[in-house]
């Protein structure tokens, strides 16, 4: 079922915004706000907030602001918004992305003009992994330099499933991919069908917990972020077969020392660092 959100359009004097941020920052389900001229749009997850409780908060806030400054007036409107593919406008503009003259990632609406060794058909729907971002390209560069033939693979936070598909097309053996985001899960299903209609990727909805302790792989792919990598250092060590390789991405250059320290402590060796602009990808061995 699509998620819904409450969006409050709050008309108030700009001078009062700081107090509004201070008050809203502790509310459950607060997702963020957009600022306009004497107007704030405050967004909340409807799974963590109700309209009556937001109305109570707004009434108290209004009184608080008037007490602070009688000239500060507040009016508001609450609307419920259902999620949709907000990224559709950008997605319609994407063109094939070529990485290392080996991979070609292309959407249905813009086929590639020529054939490359690894053709990956991705129709993204509000999911990460189109090849447009450095972190995806760094993963592909590291994968190209590795021998994936016959190796078992786990792809963590698969997004559009671009890396899981790439691994299979590079000759990988059994592949499990998972994502905690339902748009990514649904989009992965679609993209896997476009590329690997044999159903050779085991796609799971959920996070790291979807992989049991007994499921191990020769290769783990993880394009997430530094905090997640640090949180799951022991998990990676536990799920990799001896001699296995871990490819990490979603990292900025200044994340390297902390990542290196944590993964050395967890027993990883053989660090290789790849970079593109301010982003890095790291290959390590168990």
């Amino acid at each position: 079922m699509p998620a819904t959100y409450f969006v409050i359009t709050l008309k108030a004097q700009e001078e009062s915004f700081e107090h509004i941020f201070s008050s809203v920052s502790d509310l459950e389900g607060f997702l963020g706000s957009e600022e306009g001229f004497d107007e704030l749009k405050l967004s909340f997850s409807s799974s963590e907030q109700t309209e009556p409780s937001l109305t109570r908060w707004l009434t108290a806030l209004s009184q608080e602001l008037t007490d602070l400054n009688p000239a500060w007036e507040v009016t508001w409107q609450i609307v419920s918004e259902t999620e949709q593919n907000w990224n559709a406008q950008w997605e319609a503009t994407i063109e094939p992305v070529i990485v290392e003259d080996t991979f070609c990632i292309f959407p249905s609406w813009h086929p590639a003009e020529k054939t490359y060794p690894v053709m990956i058909h991705i129709d993204p729907k509000m999911s990460f992994g189109t090849g447009y971002h450095e972190t995806t390209r760094l993963m592909l560069v590291m994968m190209k330099n590795a021998d994936l033939k016959g190796k078992s693979v786990i792809d963590c936070g698969t997004g559009t499933a671009v890396l899981a598909i790439a691994s299979k097309k590079l000759g990988a053996g059994p592949c499990i991919a998972f994502d905690i985001d339902h748009w990514s899960y649904e989009n992965s299903l679609e993209n896997l069908k476009l590329n690997l209609p044999d159903g050779s990727v085991d796609l799971r909805f959920g996070g790291y917990e979807t992989i049991s302790e007994t499921e191990k792989a020769d290769i783990i792919l993880a394009n997430v972020n530094r905090n997640v990598h640090l949180q799951y250092t022991a998990w990676y060590a536990g799920r990799l077969n001896p001699g296995g390789t871990l490819f990490l991405s979603g990292l900025l250059k200044y994340d390297e020392p902390e990542i290196r320290k944590a993964f050395i402590s967890a027993g990883f060796t053989g660090f290789k660092v790849f970079s593109e602009n301010e982003w890095i990808g790291i290959e390590v061995r168990k």
Binding site: A3, Y5, V7, F17, E18, H19, F21, S22, S23, S25, D26, F30, L31, G32, S33, E34, E35, G36, K41, L42, S43, S45, A60, Q63, E64, D67, L68, E81, E83, W86, N87, A88, Q89, W90, T93, P124, M126, S127, F128, T130, Y132, H133, T135, G159, D181, W183, N225, R226, N227, G250, L251, L252, D255
Partner: protein, 141 residues
Amino acid sequence: MAKKITGYIKLQIPAGQATPAPPIGPALGQKGVNIMEFCKQYNAKTQDKMGLIIPVVITVYSDKSFTFITKTPPAAVLIKKAIKLEKGSAEPNRTKVGKISQDQIREIASMKMPDLNTTSLESAMSMVAGAAKSMGIVVEE
């Protein structure tokens, strides 16, 4: 030739928690910006500040590319965090809800300096102290 700017988007988002949900999805999506790329970059660059709301100004260019700068959290948010206060006073002149030390004021002022219209730490401290007082917090001498 410099790229043409087509607009600015001002958001306030919890650090490290950007998702395509509102406000990010609708705000960036209607300008044709790649939401997923923004979320990846924003989360990577703010994950050290988890628990704080970070203002961000996104510049959108005619080719739908974007750049963004993050600012420091609102002083009121930093004050509440510094003294572990749940909420400010509804009657700041009459009801005091906490105390803040000069060291805490200085620390917040130093953090806020890049976003304030002053190069003087004393002036910045005075602004932060004013914000604290308006929340019903006693500023210790």
